[in-house]
Symmetry: C2
Subunit: 341 residues, 2 copies
């Protein structure tokens, strides 16, 4: 049966009344309403308290009339469920017991999502109830390479050298680690779908640091494994977002995703030419949100023109930045909603 | 007159006996010989003492028989000459008086290179004398956007948000800053050429964070300004290296460079197809240097095959990493030198 909501229709390449828009990290620090909730608990507490996760998930829907909600959570929670302690500091996430040898990889478990992350399913159910059909809910997870890179580094990194070295120095160990992460993330995404998520986005935030051969052999292969498991379970659209996709744009179709997320560094018309008929999502530079509204509107119009109206979901090309002026978000959403080709 | 050395011939797309090889940051921390010299002074002292800069420049030539030497220096020295205090700490470069407003941009001078950086010309002359014609000497500089990004941030950054915001928020100020940097770098490169540098590499290490429209309007435009000034002064080959070139590979020809440096994230055959007949330099993943030698040799052979033998300078796709095993460098150089298609 054809979906009726424009976001889900765009994911399938079906005709829409207008191009849908949502924003990566739309429930986030740029919103005073989010900061007010966040002041009551720490970041992990927010992720793990379904009422609060539900509250912040709905904020940008109520404020801006965006076309999809996305579960408030964090891509690193499944690593904690696999057995890696996880904390968030002012400098970002930290994993104090990083995976540095074969024994550590062997110790990782592939957990049951509903047992180890019950708060995720609970949040999804609450959000679906609160949305009451207004807009679809997107569930999400981190792609295997991105999560494995965090597990190996023990936190964020600029160059992800440990993660990249593993692929060259110990490819079999790398596959073992990536396979475990792929199965864990698949189970977590399936749990989200079972709880009511109507689409899934898989974030490969750091796979863009890889050479194309390593991207294909490691990142793409295991992302495809995760996507195949989700698609075998339920017919939900899957969006695969690789940050820094340009060098591998001819490969990402092989992921099996329904939609390809495009970061801000690719001209969207070029992405469409390279990808053929597969729907795309993106891709305004998050930093463009600091420009005067007239310039934001012109940039959005250029992206909408390049997107061609069908099989295009408007989004930023990466997460919205904490300092983004809320009025500029309003201007962007208004421009996309009123765009007439 | 046609050059005779294979590196300079490859820069012109002329036939060569074999593909030349040099390595970005080849005089660096991975070498015990470099660390021994570095132990005698701090990093800026090494850059500013011609005898020491000469000594470390020659080390990899003597050790590995590479096909070009590159001046030991730092891309940030011209910023210091423009009036910005500069220091190097364990965490990298820091500019304690960053450029944060129009007045700060107005205060920057466009210095005379020989007066403000006499040690650079002196180092070039000493290195040329010490090389005695064995291999050509490459001079280098940072491209305007990359240097402006450092000037605005006050040091290194992962996202370069201040530099990127400037382009959207105050494009005229951005052009003023970039124009001053472009003229400063051009003067510095011309001074290197006058002192004896036989080729120039312009490093746009961070322009890869820009959206294509901003890359073209800001980074590329001012890099082209610098390159045009150098080429108007002397007929030396110029290599333009953009780290993260994939999304803008169809634009970089407009830089006016003779050679395009390709980072490790692009498959070199694809780069050749996109760039047509213009010579290319690259592009082994620096992290591949941690693989067993047999794998390094296979990766190098694949790049040499894709490069096609003419108009190709073998290099890494980014600077060699400090932890790189010296024996693996030896294996790589031997593989490239003995490669027979």
């Amino acid at each position: 049966m054809e979906p009726t909501h424009r976001f889900l229709r765009a994911c399938r390449g079906l005709a829409v009344d207008r191009v849908p828009i949502w924003l990566m990290r739309q429930a986030g620090r740029y919103l005073p309403e989010y900061r007010a909730v966040r002041a009551r608990t720490d970041f992990l507490g927010l992720c793990k308290t379904p009422e609060l996760a539900c509250e912040v998930t709905l904020q940008p829907i109520d404020l801006f009339g965006l076309d999809a909600a996305i579960l408030f959570s964090d891509i690193l929670l499944p690593l904690e469920a696999m057995g890696l302690p996880l904390a968030f500091t002012e400098d970002g996430p930290t994993l104090p017991e990083p995976v540095r040898d074969r024994a550590a990889i062997a110790r990782l478990c592939v957990p049951d999502a509903e047992t180890t992350m019950p708060f995720v399913g609970a949040a999804v159910r609450q959000i679906r109830a609160a949305l009451a059909g207004r807009v679809p809910l997107i569930g999400f997870g981190g792609a295997p390479f991105t999560l494995a890179a965090y597990a190996v580094e023990g936190g964020g990194s600029t160059q992800w050298l440990r993660g990249r070295r593993l692929l060259y120095e110990a490819p079999q160990s790398a596959h073992e680690l990536l396979g475990k992460v792929a199965r864990t993330v698949a189970a977590a995404l399936i749990a989200q779908v079972d709880a009511g998520a109507e689409a899934i986005q898989l974030f490969d935030s750091w796979a863009g640091v890889l050479a194309p051969a390593e991207f294909e052999a490691f990142a793409l292969r295991h992302a495809a494994e995760t996507i195949a498991a989700v698609k075998a379970h339920a017919d939900v659209p899957v969006i695969y977002f690789v940050n820094g996709v340009a060098p591998v744009i001819d490969l990402v179709r092989q992921s099996g995703a329904d939609v390809i997320g495009i970061d801000w560094r690719v001209e969207l018309g070029e992405a469409r030419r390279r990808l053929g008929s597969i729907p795309v999502q993106g891709n305004l530079d998050p930093v463009a949100m600091f420009a005067p509204p007239a310039k934001i509107e012109a940039k959005a119009a250029a992206i909408l023109r390049a997107g061609g109206g069908v099989g295009h979901i408007f989004n930023l090309g990466h997460g919205i930045l904490p300092e983004t002026p809320v009025d500029n978000v309003r201007a962007l959403v208004a421009a996309v909603r009123s765009y007439a080709p």
